[in-house]
């Protein structure tokens, strides 16, 4: 497969693994957080942990938009979809995300709510055109990568003068969440987990560019390497981070230069800033309220804002108190440290955010890596 196999080459991987071993000082640990779920998935899917020295540790960050969506937002969507005039259009991976008390969109659909799985924003527009007597709401979710398509869709609805179309906006931003992780007491004051650097987002950075991380690297003194989602991208980024650590640098470096520039996609950024504005704060499952981390539609576009149009009330739901997702997302704990992991919480019946999507830290470990726990137990 062209443009993919080149980045999965075994020989090059072995060469990079050797370089990583050579770069690693035996007396110090290297703890890097990959922010994106896409990176978490690549690590697990390709078994990259097997290629890293024991003291080079990867901490799986919160960069999976499905995972961090709080239960309250799911409850809001379920409540909205219960209204007979509503057709709720969602991406398939949202269907099983747990709301409160075991509710999910999948169960709501089975009970009769008109919830339709779509593969692109265009599908939602088409459904609105085909059902002029119904109200079609698109459940918009995702980081900076998926916000531009939502913006384009609103423009399209405007152009087509669609009167029955709106968006339930759950778009969130990457840099504020990274900042929140470093500022959280677990990391800064208690100092239980030190993060030595970040593998920066791949697709998100194609939109926002590398510049937004510069302040971050400077302010917190942490190296950031923007990396692609292929396994060789990951390996190279880890090597680049180790070099920065060893040379005491904290810069933003761009491993994913085949797709990412310093300024990103100007056109996309412009579309987004025309239509969206910052929320004062937005709740992330596992992280809690994070200031200026979410987007909403500007007042000029209020008629496309489902929260305004249908007077949706904000619902807050506490996560299961035994769930360790917050600590796992911050790298303080590992999936196996959670009492729920693999017992009541599995990909079939996820309790916490990290088990929801295959990009979540717990789901990735459960699906691809849990055999290692048994190997370790046997070895010790």
């Amino acid at each position: 497969m062209k443009y993919a196999d080149e980045f999965r080459d075994k020989e090059i991987a072995l060469g990079l693994a050797k370089a990583i071993r050579a770069e690693a000082h035996p007396e110090r640990p290297y703890r890097f957080m990959e922010f994106c779920g896409g990176h978490t998935h690549a690590i697990s899917r390709y078994g990259l942990e097997d290629m890293l020295p024991k003291h080079v540790l990867m901490i799986h960050g919160p960069g999976c938009p499905v995972c961090v969506l709080p239960a309250g937002r799911i409850d809001m969507a379920i409540r909205l979809a219960a209204r007979p005039e509503i057709i709720l259009c969602v991406y398939g991976d949202l269907m099983r995300v747990p709301g409160s008390q075991g509710a999910s969109l999948l169960k709501a659909k089975a009970r009769g709510a008109d919830i339709r799985m779509v593969y692109s924003t265009i599908d939602a527009i088409r459904i609105a055109e085909e059902n002029p007597e119904r109200e079609v709401v698109f459940f918009a979710i995702g980081f900076e990568t998926t916000t531009p398509p939502t913006a384009v869709m609103i423009r399209l609805a405007e152009k087509k003068q669609l009167e029955n179309f709106s968006v339930f906006c759950n778009h969130v931003l990457t840099p504020p969440a990274m900042q929140n992780i470093l500022e959280s007491p677990d990391i800064r004051n208690i100092g239980r987990v030190e993060i030595d650097g970040f593998v920066g987002p791949a697709h998100v950075s194609t939109i926002i560019g590398t510049a937004p991380y510069e302040f971050f690297a400077e302010e917190f003194g942490k190296p950031v390497v923007i990396a692609g989602f292929e396994p060789l991208d990951m390996m190279q980024a880890i090597l680049m981070l180790m070099r920065q650590v060893n040379e005491n640098r904290h810069e933003v470096e761009n491993q994913y230069s085949r797709a990412v520039t310093r300024d990103g996609n100007l056109r996309a950024k412009e579309e987004v800033s025309d239509i969206f504005e910052l929320r004062d704060q937005f709740e992330w499952r596992g992280l809690g309220q994070v200031p200026y981390s979410g987007l909403k539609l500007k007042r000029a576009y209020a008629k496309y804002d489902a929260e305004v149009r249908f007077e949706m009330n904000e619902l807050r739901v506490d996560d299961n108190p035994a769930c360790e997702c917050g600590a796992i997302l911050r790298g303080v704990k590992k999936p196996v440290d959670c009492k729920l992991f693999g017992t009541v919480c599995t990909p079939e019946t996820p309790m916490g955010s990290c088990m929801v999507s295959s990009e979540g830290a717990c789901a990735a470990h459960w699906t691809y890596g849990r055999f290692r726990d048994h190997q370790q137990r046997r070895a010790s």
Partner: protein, 346 residues
């Protein structure tokens, strides 16, 4: 005087509620369309059941339902799929399939022309497989109560003496053979649903495997422990089922697992794992190491086993993990699919 009945207007007509009501219209649909397509001595007798001789030995019986959407896809349609799927379930016991039943639940308004195409390809698939559809049923439901057409089948076959293939038979050290490329059927369906155009069209692998199975049994005899056709849930589900039932684990080698480049690319694009995608003309065989080469050679000589690959081995494992050495370097689990990846694939 013989009552006049207008002929079925196959080209322009469609099924209405009278075609399921037990009256003359239904009789006409059955004789004019289904008997025509399936034509055999049992149906010709027009009974509510069909009698057939039972030979010596053990028989197998299976049942299956087909709800695939869309009804027509590259490489087949719901009719050929229903025959292949049922034949394969019988064949996985090492058995020779003999007779099938077919029950049709048809939505009001379904075009005769489409029904004819489907019935004809069912008849064709049955003839190719050497099985007979000897009894059936037709029901018509109101518009909106069935998505066009559902088919359910049953099948019986006979197992050769001394053969007892079963999922608890795998032993540590056994080899895992897969008869060809993975994921073709699921991706063919998906590409139609999403209107995804690829440079080369991906065609479903839907096919009857009993002939291949007969060759394998000839070559491997009792050294063949069990066979499964990895349909919904793909190879991943099949291997996990066997691991549980045989109380062991498997170690697979990703590089050895055959996947067509077009299928791999489509999966990449759609975010699917080819190991989770359905197949309708592939089988997994767990075989004793001493007969593995002979079975492999026999499979290679058969058109449906040309791309056969030895993809791994059974290992001792209390946790029943299916592990895989990735084509990269590290290892991972091949887990069950969770949730619904592709609903209504067969």
């Amino acid at each position: 005087m013989k009552g006049y009945q207008r002929k079925l207007d196959i080209r322009n007509g469609c099924v209405d509620l009278s075609h399921g009501s037990g009256g003359r219209a239904m009789a006409q649909l059955i004789s004019g369309l289904f008997h025509e397509a399936f034509g055999n001595e049992w149906l010709a007798r027009g009974n509510d059941q069909s009698a057939f001789d039972v030979g010596a030995g053990r028989m197998v019986m299976t049942t299956d339902g087909y709800v695939v959407s869309p009804l027509f896809f590259p490489g087949g349609n719901i009719g050929s799929l229903a025959v292949h799927g049922t034949v394969n379930d019988i064949a996985m016991a090492g058995a020779r399939p003999l007779y099938l039943s077919a029950s049709f639940i048809i939505e009001e308004g379904f075009r005769f022309a489409d029904l004819k195409l489907i019935a004809e390809s069912m008849g064709e698939a049955a003839r190719t497989a050497g099985v007979h559809i000897i009894t059936g049923d037709t029901k018509v439901v109101e518009r909106g109560k069935a998505d066009g057409l559902f088919i359910s089948t049953a099948g019986v076959g006979v197992v050769p003496d001394g053969l007892d293939l079963s999922a608890e038979n795998a032993r540590v050290g056994d080899r895992v053979l897969i008869s060809g490329t993975l994921g073709d059927h699921g991706v063919a369906i998906m590409s139609k649903r999403q209107n995804l155009a690829f440079e080369t069209e991906i065609v479903s692998d839907s096919a009857s495997l009993h002939d291949l199975v007969a060759e394998m049994v000839k070559a491997g005899g009792r050294g063949i422990r069990l066979m499964r056709d990895p349909t919904r849930g793909g190879l991943a589900a099949t291997m996990n089922e066997i691991a549980q039932q045989s109380d062991l684990g498997f170690r697979l080698h990703e590089e050895a697992i055959p996947v067509k480049p077009g299928v791999a690319a489509a999966c990449e694009l759609l975010g699917l794992d080819p190991l989770h995608v359905a197949n309708e003309g592939k089988l997994v065989a767990i075989v004793a190491p001493e007969v593995a080469d002979a079975v492999l050679t026999a499979m290679q000589a058969h058109p449906l086993g040309r791309d056969v690959a030895d993809i791994g081995e059974a290992v001792a494992d209390d946790h029943h993990f299916v592990q895989m050495a990735t084509s990269f370097v590290g290892g991972r689990i091949v887990d069950w699919l969770s949730g619904e990846q592709l609903p209504r694939i067969c």
